[in-house]
């Protein structure tokens, strides 16, 4: 239980090349015109209805003796996109993975604090039910080695087989699943491209299509929260744009948490932004607030590219 080392923000500034960029003057930080685009594009105005789905209360996470996340509290709301930003090793991904208890499969991981989903503590929810309700998309597109249809049907199928009360142990027929599969593929914005042949092997799709298929798969189970771990970092800019658009469109029906290294992306898609550094939550606010009027020195340094 070593105490955390003091935040190295200053040290980084001293060690690094003296930065030539003037510290951005508060309020006038306009360099990424994307921010303006985003605002014009869809307006920062939150969705009509914003409901809190998850609540993260003083959560700390550790791998063995090493603290990775320290005392973080955040709300996760449906109707908006929450972006977790911060340098590598700041604990964003670990925090994200703890929301569907995926951290538990790492040996030696431990957690303190409370996370609730619709008021219920996630420890109390059966883990596979929880993961169906809090679904996740990964950094690398990872469709399973089966057809497009089966990839999505996979998410639907055993969901029902597992519910004993339904007593439908047998595989549900394709006809029965088809509407749900098509709906998920359509919501992921992939349907027009693959409609002609849903039986094509998923691994033959392009990277961007594969990632949208992964989103479709994650949506198929009807989750309340969708976790995205740097979903675009392996994709080209065009696929990225498609997926960002998709994310913004999805927030009405699911709460979205996205981890990203790409600040422009956070600006484009997020309604709220949480900036983490060395496991601590430094700043949380609307993305305008965080990107244009950051309250903390460290946030300002990070978003102006001073470190990270």
């Amino acid at each position: 239980m070593t105490p955390l080392t003091p935040p190295p923000a200053r040290r980084i500034l001293v060690d690094g090349e003296p930065t030539l960029i003037d510290p951005p003057v508060r309020g006038t930080m306009e360099p990424p015109s994307l921010s303006a685009n985003a605002r014009n594009g869809r307006g920062r105005a939150p969705a009509e209805q914003v409901t809190e789905r998850m609540r993260i209360e003083s959560v700390s996470l550790a791998y063995g003796e090493k603290w990775v996340v320290r005392d973080v509290s955040l709300p996760v709301r449906q109707g908006e996109v929450l972006a977790l930003i911060g340098a590598s090793g700041s604990g964003k991904t670990t925090l994200l993975r703890s929301l569907n208890r995926l951290t538990e499969i790492t040996t030696g991981a431990s957690r303190a604090g409370r996370v609730t989903l619709d008021g219920e503590e996630i420890e109390q929810i059966e883990v596979n039910d929880l993961r169906r309700r809090v679904s996740m998309v990964f950094q690398q597109p990872n469709p399973f080695p089966m057809s497009i249809f089966e990839n999505v049907a996979y998410a639907l199928r055993e969901e029902h087989a597992a519910r004993r009360d339904r007593q439908r142990r047998g595989r549900r027929g394709r006809r029965e699943l088809e509407p749900a599969v098509i709906d998920a593929v359509r919501r992921a914005g992939l349907y027009d491209e693959v409609a002609d042949d849903l039986d094509r092997p998923a691994l033959r799709l392009s990277g961007g299509q594969q990632q949208r298929l992964c989103i479709a798969r994650a949506l198929a189970a009807g989750p309340e929260v969708l976790l995205l771990d740097e979903p675009c970092s392996a994709l080209d800019p065009i696929s990225t744009a498609t997926i960002e658009e998709l994310i913004v469109g999805l927030r009405e029906r699911v709460a979205i948490v996205i981890v990203t290294h790409n600040l422009q992306q956070a600006m484009r898609v997020a309604d709220h932004v949480a900036f983490m550094h060395l496991g601590e939550l430094v700043e949380y606010g609307t993305s305008e607030q965080v990107f244009e009027r950051p309250a903390m020195e460290r946030t300002r340094e990070y978003i102006s590219g001073a470190f990270g």
């Binding site: 993961r131 990964f138 690398q140 990872n142 080695p145 057809s147 092997p201 994650a218 189970a221 976790l227």
Partner: protein, 327 residues
């Protein structure tokens, strides 16, 4: 070189060293000898392989008659009357089928356990070294061990019992079971290696959809490693087909397939027989039959089967199409 036109204002490229430091003539003589030996060894191996195949093909084809493939062998001192080797061919396929039917599920199960569970660690190490031990045991030792075990009276149902009550211990079943030990390490190895190559995030993606570990293994991991399982099985088949010791000791190496009597399929499984390998051995000048022409013909058939299997392995592991078909 230096005369290549150079745009104004640019310096011509520096003159290259006349001899790169890496040139052969600058090597120490030990390296040169080793290099030469590497070449020689590679070429020699190619030559030997070509020699084997060509020699066997010439010998084999010259003695091979279609009738040999469809006639049962007959114990006759007269070569023209000793029939073909239909029974050994059937025996080869039967023993291989039994061996693989046992080895494939066991091997895949062991590989999955080692790769996905492997707890406690001590047990995992024990299983691992167990597999290695089996892989390293000479097949004749396995065969003798099998004869010992299968002669126990409680295992009499696997083979025949003589009138005096002695359990024979030799049958297609007992030979197939021991043969499966030859294939298991190969299937475990290739399956496990393939499972290790499935990235962790693929498993996590399945967990993140609310799937259990068992479902993930059955629906995601096993389909992804199917080509490797297939190539492990094919390699195992090659081992089984090529083995002689187990056939001679545990299959009885009877000239013809001799049923044990009783229900037809069971009679066959409990009966004795021979395979191409034992047929070749017995008919070679070193064996009892001493019918070299037949030995060459049978050896050629054996070689063709094994080479065909190798080609399948190459196809499965090289032309591996991860895309898979619709499930």
């Amino acid at each position: 070189m230096a005369t290549a036109p150079v745009a104004a204002g640019l310096k011509p490229p520096a003159k290259p060293r006349s001899k790169p430091r890496d040139s052969f003539s600058s090597w120490p003589w030990t390296d040169r000898i080793a290099y030469g030996l590497c070449w020689a060894a590679g070429l020699a191996l190619c030559a030997i392989a070509a020699w084997i195949v060509l020699y066997m093909a010439i010998k084999g084809i010259s003695y091979l008659k279609p009738s040999l493939l469809v006639q049962s062998p007959v114990g006759s001192p007269n070569q023209s009357g000793s029939g073909g080797f239909l029974d050994p061919i059937e025996g080869t396929f039967l023993v291989t089928a039994i061996g693989i039917a046992v080895a494939a599920p066991l091997g895949v199960a062991v590989a999955v356990w080692l790769s996905e569970y492997a707890r406690p660690a001590g047990l995992a190490r024990a299983v691992e070294s167990g597999v290695e031990t089996i892989a390293g045991t000479p097949s004749v030792v396995l065969a003798i061990f099998g004869l010992l075990v299968f002669s126990k009276s409680f295992l009499a149902f696997l083979s025949q019992t003589s009138a005096g009550g002695a359990v024979f211990g030799r049958s297609f079943l007992t030979a197939g079971l021991i043969m499966s030990l030859l294939a298991i390490p190969l299937i475990v190895g290739s399956t496990r290696e393939a499972l290790a190559q499935v990235p962790a995030h693929v498993r996590e993606a399945s967990y993140a959809l609310g799937k259990t570990k068992a479902t993930t293994i059955r629906r995601v991991l096993l389909p992804s490693v199917r080509p490797s399982i297939a190539s492990g099985i094919t390699l195992g088949m090659g081992r089984i087909i090529g083995d002689t010791a187990i056939v001679v000791i545990l299959l009885g190496a009877s000239l013809r397939i001799e049923g044990a009597g009783g229900a037809p399929v069971l009679s066959l499984l409990r009966g004795t027989g021979s395979t191409l390998t034992s047929y070749v051995k017995e008919n070679s000048p070193a064996g009892e039959g001493n019918a070299p022409q037949k030995a060459y013909a049978a050896a050629f058939v054996l070689l063709v089967i094994v080479i065909a299997l190798n080609a399948i392995v190459v196809r499965l592991s090289g032309g591996q199409d991860h895309a898979g078909g619709p499930r």
